[in-house]
């Protein structure tokens, strides 16, 4: 199950890389924040799945002045905007980090040897919000070929600041669980992303349909938290039976 989840990530990463290296093409599709696990459950593993509802009016995302970087600016013929609140066409909310906050057995969770990709493309982070396990490799890709410096601002982890002046990959990891770590590029002060670091693999990020799914869970009573960049956190308690699937819904509202 885990391997599949990461396999999907790698596929997504490859797709992103293609988009990023395409050069002057369409901006990457908004669904690249989707880290949803496959729907098929593993025997004995429970699943929590659901959707992030959104009501009311979302604030206008701030426009980004990218004049200083024509290579990036030309990828947004209609103008570039921040991704602070991304509401999907079906009225759901994208880029919400959902994770099991409490209730897991006290144990070491195996860490996948597959890395998680954070791509800098079009002077933006893709995905905008991602989850990773502590100790897991974060692959930081520069697809733009212009100078980015990858500069996470953690509290519980060691920060780092790497200059990437060309198309390239760097690898790093975080040692300690932390929800969430902002990631910035000092060269482009509009670039902003978030990384959720957990000791376990039970997390997901809502995608372009607002859905999420966390599977492979042992039976138990859990507190699940949803985190959004602007609207903050919400929690739901849920009991998962052996092999069962529980549906939960978070609801955020704008003004």
């Amino acid at each position: 199950m885990l391997r599949r989840e990461f396999g999907l990530l790698v596929v997504l990463g490859a797709a992103l890389a293609l988009v990023g290296c395409g050069g002057g093409g369409e901006p990457p599709a908004p669904s690249d924040g989707d880290q949803e696990a496959p729907q098929t459950a593993i025997t004995g593993g429970g699943t929590i799945s659901g959707v992030i509802n959104f009501s009311g009016t979302a604030p206008e995302n701030e426009p980004i002045l990218m004049d200083a970087e024509p290579i990036c600016a030309e990828q947004y013929p209609d103008g570039a905007f921040q991704e602070t609140v991304v509401v999907n066409s079906n009225g759901t909310l994208q880029d919400v980090f959902v994770y099991v906050k409490q209730g897991l057995p006290d144990q070491e969770w195996p860490v996948s040897s597959e890395g998680v990709l954070l791509d800098q493309s079009g002077c933006r982070y893709h995905p905008h919000v991602l989850g990773i396990q502590s100790g897991q490799t974060l692959i930081i890709r520069n697809s733009d070929g212009i100078l980015h410096n990858i500069h996470p601002m953690p509290v519980n982890n060691r920060p780092f600041n790497l200059g990437q002046p060309v198309e390239m990959d760097s690898e790093k990891s975080f040692s300690t669980p932390e929800v969430m770590i902002p990631v910035e590029c000092d060269v482009h002060d509009w670039m902003l992303g978030y990384i959720g670091v957990l000791s376990h693999p039970f997390f997901a990020v809502s995608g372009s349909d607002g859905s999420f799914s966390i599977s492979g869970l042992p039976a138990g009573d859990y507190v699940v938290e949803a985190w959004h960049e602007l609207y903050g956190t919400q929690t739901i308690s849920v009991s998962v039976a052996e092999g069962g699937t529980e549906q939960i819904e978070f609801s955020y509202s704008g003004s």
Binding site: A68, I146, L147, N149, I150, H151, M153, N156, R158, P159, F160, N161, L162, G163, Q164, P165, V166, M168, S170, K172, D186, V187, H188, D189
Partner: protein, 514 residues
């Protein structure tokens, strides 16, 4: 009013005095027998020497922290600029010891070597790292080995210039290294406070040292807590030395301590453009400027900290070429006067809430008249009874003449204007030419004559830093000397002397032979 400010030098050099005071205090503590005896306790050393700025809890929030820029290090964030370890790793114990001993140039962090004993330095470093720094002692940080530097060659510098382009150092540091890259004004530090990139032309502004090895180390390790990343993974050792050599070659215009500005005599017309090759005949002389801390608001973090001056004159006029770095050209101003401000210290956190827009500016100051002996007006805008002439140029405006009688009174515009100025700003540098007739016929103006030591001082405003009025940087008094053109008789006398010596030797040799 001015009697309150008798200790002028001390107030002018406030930050220096603060540092010196700390060291003095430290030395007193050293001589305290109760302190000198017994085992060295790092905590005691910390509370005596460090807590005033860095805070009792190591969070960089000591009582004076809010008046300092840059802020004292917050050890609890565990981010250290000056390391020999990769970006994201803790510094070595030796790295911390080194910075405590050397201090940090351009900041309130003094040099502790020679003040604290070796054992005290080690004790205080062990105390603050183990008490405040997260992850300290949990692992051994890897080390970036710094090899012996090669001999710098012209080819190395040239290859370094290419690295500067390829690595896009200019995006923050600017094409000419003048801290005016496209991202320069958007940068923030680890506490989200604004931070500017280093002006690489100013050797004295490299906080971690301006020598080849220090430069190599800084971009290898990055400067954690700042926007400066590590470029270690994307450069070769050869490339890093080349880049260091190039960056070092950008350093220029450091004031040498020479106070005399020599004005060269030319017989023809004075140059009207800073690019005129005639200026090459003159000797550039650079002067430091410091923040104005005599009247409030006391301003300790000025934008313009040095100017380079050249001077030339002919039979009728004097021309001064003043150059200084300013990453942003601010030509719009909501405030054109020189009004004194309220008398308070500036809390840097809250500044600049009321600022702008202000225009950049430069003032050249002379005594209104040359006094006998060494008496000069007060170096900052003069004083009542001993006024100064201020030649004030503001970007987007013409140059104007004022009479100053101290920082506590608004300088008075003169009724007749005898100066002319032309200025240009390009790539982070102003070049300003100011000319004035040697004699103006205006009794308020200083008469400028060759051969005299004429006191001269400079003041500058950086508009986008919120500088206006008495919120400015200023130099102390220096001297302008118009070199007297060498009269033809000087050559005659020299020739005569040669002849006389020759004749004498001939006579002597004749005598010896006979």
């Amino acid at each position: 009013m001015s009697r309150r400010f008798t200790s002028r030098t001390a107030r002018f050099l406030f930050p220096v005095a603060l540092g010196a005071g700390l060291i003095f205090l430290a030395e007193r503590v050293d001589r305290d027998p109760a302190f000198a005896q017994g085992p060295i306790d790092g905590q005691t050393v910390y509370l005596e020497r460090c807590a005033f700025c860095h805070g009792e809890n190591g969070d960089g929030n000591g009582p004076v922290a809010r008046y300092l820029s840059p802020r004292p290090r917050d050890f609890t964030l565990g981010q250290f600029r000056f390391r020999t370890t990769p970006s994201g790793d803790l510094p070595l114990r030796d790295d911390v010891i080194a910075i405590v001993k050397s201090g940090v140039r351009g900041t309130a962090m003094p040099r502790w070597e020679g003040v604290l004993s070796e054992a005290q330095v080690e004790a205080v470093v062990d105390y603050l790292t183990t008490s405040f720094v997260p992850f300290w002692g949990t692992y051994d940080p890897p080390v970036i080995e710094i090899p012996d530097p090669p001999r710098v060659t012209a080819a190395m510098i040239e290859s370094g210039a290419q690295q500067f382009q390829d690595l896009q150092c200019w995006k923050c540091h600017g094409d000419q290294g003048r801290a005016n890259g496209p991202s320069a004004l958007t940068l923030t530090d680890e506490t989200d406070r604004p931070i500017r990139p280093a002006d690489l032309t100013k050797a004295w502004r490299y906080k971690g040292g301006s020598d080849l090895v220090s430069i190599y180390t800084r971009f290898s390790t990055g400067m954690d807590g700042t926007p400066m990343p590590s470029f270690y993974d994307v450069t070769s050792e050869e490339g890093r030395w080349a880049l260091a050599a190039y960056v070092r070659s950008l350093q220029a215009g450091e004031p040498s301590g020479e106070s005399v500005l020599q004005a060269v005599f030319v017989s023809g017309a004075l140059p009207t453009s800073p690019d005129d090759p005639l200026w090459q005949e003159t000797e550039p002389t650079s002067y430091f400027l410091t923040g104005q801390v005599i009247v409030g608001p006391r301003w300790q973090t000025p934008g313009v900290d040095a100017v380079t001056a050249r001077a030339m004159y002919n039979s009728s006029d004097l021309a001064l070429l003043i150059e200084w770095n300013d990453p942003v050209e601010d030509a719009e101003s909501a405030d054109t006067d020189l009004q004194p401000d309220a008398t308070t210290y500036i809390v840097l956190e809250t500044f600049p809430s009321d600022a702008g827009p202000f225009a950049d500016g430069l003032a050249i100051q002379f005594p209104a008249e040359l006094a006998e002996g060494v008496r000069k007006p007060y170096f900052a805008w003069g004083q009542p009874g001993s006024p100064v002439n201020l030649w004030v140029w503001r970007a987007g405006d013409q140059a104007r003449e004022f009479n100053g009688t101290g920082l506590w009174t608004e300088p008075a515009p003169q009724s007749s204007m005898n100066i002319a100025a032309t200025a240009n700003w390009a790539d982070g540098r102003y070049r300003l030419i100011v000319t004035r007739p040697l004699a103006t016929g205006d009794p308020e103006d200083i008469a400028i004559q060759p051969g005299q030591f004429i006191p001269i001082a400079f003041q500058a405003w950086d508009g986008s830093r919120g500088e206006a009025g008495t919120r400015l940087s200023l130099s102390s008094w220096n001297n302008l000397v118009l070199e007297e053109p060498t009269p033809i008789t000087a050559y005659l006398y020299a020739g005569l002397a040669v002849l006389l010596v020759g004749a004498g030797e001939w006579w002597l040799s004749r005598r010896v032979r006979s």
